[in-house]
Symmetry: C3
Amino acid sequence: MDEMLLDSLSSGATAALADSLIAVKAATAEVKAAAEHSLFTANNVWMMLSTALVFIMHLGFAGVEAGFTQAKNTVNILFKNTLTPAIGLLTYALAGFALMYPGEFNGYLGFGGMLGVPEGGLDAGYASAGYTYWTDFLFQGMFAATAATIVSGAVAERIKISSYLIFTALFVGLAYPIIGSWKWGGGFLDELGFYDFAGSTLVHSVGGWGALAGIILLGPRIGKYRDGKVNDFPGSSVPLATIGVFLLWLGWFGFNGGSVLSADPGAVSLVLVTTSLAAAAGALGGVITANFMFDRLDLGMALNGILAGLVGITAGADLMSPWEAILIGFICGCVVVFSAVTLDKFKLDDCVGAVSVHLTCGILGTLFVGILGSKAGLGQFLDQLTGVAVSGVAAFTFAFGVFFLLKKLWGIRVSPEHEAKGLDSHEHGIRGYTITFDE
Amino acid sequence: MDEMLLDSLSSGATAALADSLIAVKAATAEVKAAAEHSLFTANNVWMMLSTALVFIMHLGFAGVEAGFTQAKNTVNILFKNTLTPAIGLLTYALAGFALMYPGEFNGYLGFGGMLGVPEGGLDAGYASAGYTYWTDFLFQGMFAATAATIVSGAVAERIKISSYLIFTALFVGLAYPIIGSWKWGGGFLDELGFYDFAGSTLVHSVGGWGALAGIILLGPRIGKYRDGKVNDFPGSSVPLATIGVFLLWLGWFGFNGGSVLSADPGAVSLVLVTTSLAAAAGALGGVITANFMFDRLDLGMALNGILAGLVGITAGADLMSPWEAILIGFICGCVVVFSAVTLDKFKLDDCVGAVSVHLTCGILGTLFVGILGSKAGLGQFLDQLTGVAVSGVAAFTFAFGVFFLLKKLWGIRVSPEHEAKGLDSHEHGIRGYTITFDE
Amino acid sequence: MDEMLLDSLSSGATAALADSLIAVKAATAEVKAAAEHSLFTANNVWMMLSTALVFIMHLGFAGVEAGFTQAKNTVNILFKNTLTPAIGLLTYALAGFALMYPGEFNGYLGFGGMLGVPEGGLDAGYASAGYTYWTDFLFQGMFAATAATIVSGAVAERIKISSYLIFTALFVGLAYPIIGSWKWGGGFLDELGFYDFAGSTLVHSVGGWGALAGIILLGPRIGKYRDGKVNDFPGSSVPLATIGVFLLWLGWFGFNGGSVLSADPGAVSLVLVTTSLAAAAGALGGVITANFMFDRLDLGMALNGILAGLVGITAGADLMSPWEAILIGFICGCVVVFSAVTLDKFKLDDCVGAVSVHLTCGILGTLFVGILGSKAGLGQFLDQLTGVAVSGVAAFTFAFGVFFLLKKLWGIRVSPEHEAKGLDSHEHGIRGYTITFDE
């Protein structure tokens, strides 16, 4: 080919040169498309991995909740936590996905139908963003179901499972995606300037408000507050709870890292660093605070401190320097201990500290976006306050309303006999552990 | 350089233009190679990740099997499940890999030697497909070992471990790869038009047939069927079984997602969506069916429903729309309950429901390829039936033969005393759990 | 555009051709940058995934250590293993990262300040290597913390937790990175020719020396060696230990696979194959050796055999053929059993076999680089010996010194009463398991 080109010169024809140039231009355009496809593929790999990591958070929640509650309710907890992602994904396919990223939208409410098939057919990958239509749905669907799981831990050991499952379907299918659309679907909170990178408010505090509504309407477990004292019911398995927290930390690599919505190397890896440092500092904050307050090396508060740090950094994980992330994580780790103690003062019985971790630190983390990092400023702080307040009112009202209706209709709490005996033997017919040996 | 080019024009030489064009063409070719290498790298990352995810399925199986069986046999189960991937990988390196993707092949049986070194040296990555020779081996090897693990759960609590290990080596090293080569190695079932995307038949039903052969020849555990009643032996740890199922769901991201054999964004992410929706619908199917039949919220059937949905979607995960996937998953979740009850009627004692999950739903899922999705049609349905029958006859015959020979040679079942006392104290000398406290 | 080009010819102007050529050259340069960015992105995705996998090794260690030790000390173990990565990451940000990959460096000691912000701003990805500054820090930080975790298991069940935490901060923050810099920071061991791909010596034997120093100074647990007999204290949960080992194997995909420092398809996938085959062969080696020595199917030695194989292959995972990897893994799996028995002869009480796994097999694996694989040779063998000796003297001296000082200052061992009662009730106020049912 190149020899032909040189030959053409001797015949004096520039036409040959021009033809050759046209061919090169076409080749360059093809290579450009190949390079873009390659980047798209790498981005989509990261987003699929993030999806898998967010999925495993459901096992993390199952571990934390089953580990920190009593052995007589283990199967019940696991049943709830197994069905939560299942129901969550199905309702998200049915309605949630299109409510959150709606076709027609007025900024407050929109809908685009059920999960469909993208243009170009079933396995078409559309390259307009860092990932395909399917990856988008699955990542967001796994995300959505976490909001319901947060509720599950708080209301454990006394809620009627039928009521919980109906609540979950409505919360994941309607409340979470509509509130989420106000920011992530481009709605009015987004217009306002509210910032929530990966959901300190839109996932964690929304779930936390649902949990708070639930424990208010349910009331505390029998014997939790007696004679002015707070009685701890020892959790069945501390190793299980620890596994849960480590899996949640791991899952947060995808929860926050995937929220970049591409594999952008600088942005994603910064997020992983701020996320992990906040978790590490949260562990220290929880341990130190608990040591001052309870005079013991409190593993529960080390674990909840990690979760507090993770929730706290989530709103601004892409905006903070490592040292700001450490500060945020440490403060959240301290605050989560005070929050747990305070809830107990009000006789709000949260079996696993879900409200303190997800609501208290979710709000705190959201506000930190106005205080630290590259968006800090009074205007931003006020926007953050607005976002926290608006989504809080909406989530709490919805959750309270649903639980209230369910309570009136057929009750949300099991009978005192069943609560005392444990939910497992009553509703599920098996025990969580059968560790006996004939000797 | 560009200035030189412009200068050359004033001297009237088109030769300089031609030289420059040649250089650009070379540069474009180089960039093209770079773009292709980049895509190859992204593809290979996905395949390595998928390999890791399939590996973790072995922990998932260990959890399900140890969790659902009695505490006195926990160490035995874990020993089997720890050695299964070890033996599986080694036999696959020795023979299986080259049996399954043979060099010389007549469509029925071929062999290409032991695992070797690819042309170009130890760390040469060959770019003819979406992944390297090494990734290919490791992904397929992890896959292969799962077929044996399926057997492990069914025959638990009474099989002699030596017999199990010999069976595993032969099953993974010979039966699985030879049957697999008929489709995935380009053999006669592939010629015929049989379709099995990721192995509802070639992995799951093959494993399931092995399990069925095992429990037929072993007979039920002592006391399982007494006075016309089916006695359940409570599993040692429901949390462990739940961890197992979640890890299997996670692992299926790689099992099905990796079976695309590249990171093709549209194709892989579609597969992840159909896989997860089938799992979710399977959970519902299992729970609803069990609630009708047993009048309890059966966590075991929620978990087995998830596995049933996953097995069922595996044959056509790349062909189904989300709603077809949900339908398949739901039906498999229902059917797995009936299957388990039916097996008990025939006094076929399967400790963890492996036959119902992997054989029944493996067959069902394979047939669905002829009923739903983009390949549906009578011709395809008949091809699917043929594939199911041929591989079933081969797998069952092989497994039955091996177990039968082992039974004749030195027995496959432990003594009744050891079975009653538990296999742990007899063969392993330790107990699975030692949870005691001096007070 | 192309038509314009052709038109220009009729006007006889080569100037238009030249302009067009200049544009194509610019486009090619742009596409080249895009292709490079795409490769960088894929590389960084792999490195972030590897980071996540190394993180999950901390849960693996927690599982192994809590599973293999007594139930009365479970919370204590989990507390240590939860704080280890937290403290590890924070000290690595404060000092370790810059000590290990120092700015100013004389080959023995250097420092570059605390973790900072890369040029170009917070989320700048720098493309000089296969990953960003942040990925670099986080991968290396997760790595660093594993060295301390190795110590944790050996000294369990009797060490004062305050002393352990101070030791960890100093070991991860100072000793590990300084010793590591001698090779991986380009220091004098690197100049010498010492080779350690992913840390058989620099991570595992360094951690193992720390463990050895600890158990020498602590002395054995009460009752471990009595009347000339070695008494085994049964571990609380064999399933938990098994989960731990599987997670460690999984994590090693990132530990070794990430040590390629890019997603280079051939190199990384070779490393995954050698790593997994060594683990598989290690399991066999451990089981066979233990069967000869103890006449039982020893799950503990299957699990430790896996770890031994993994540690052993780590130094040369990129240099070995599959069959060399199998040989190394098998030998390490055999040796780890002898090593454990030998330590007991010297009344060196290592609760989980950490010294045998990480020190013995770390040294062995490092020496294998001089015996097998593509670098084998007498010269290399001597370099390996030097590296083992130098880093061993440094690590042991440092660890012994710190533990010795702590022992003199306020003690490193709990009182005999607390040891007998268990560390959980004393220091942590809760029990690891509360599995009781009212019937």
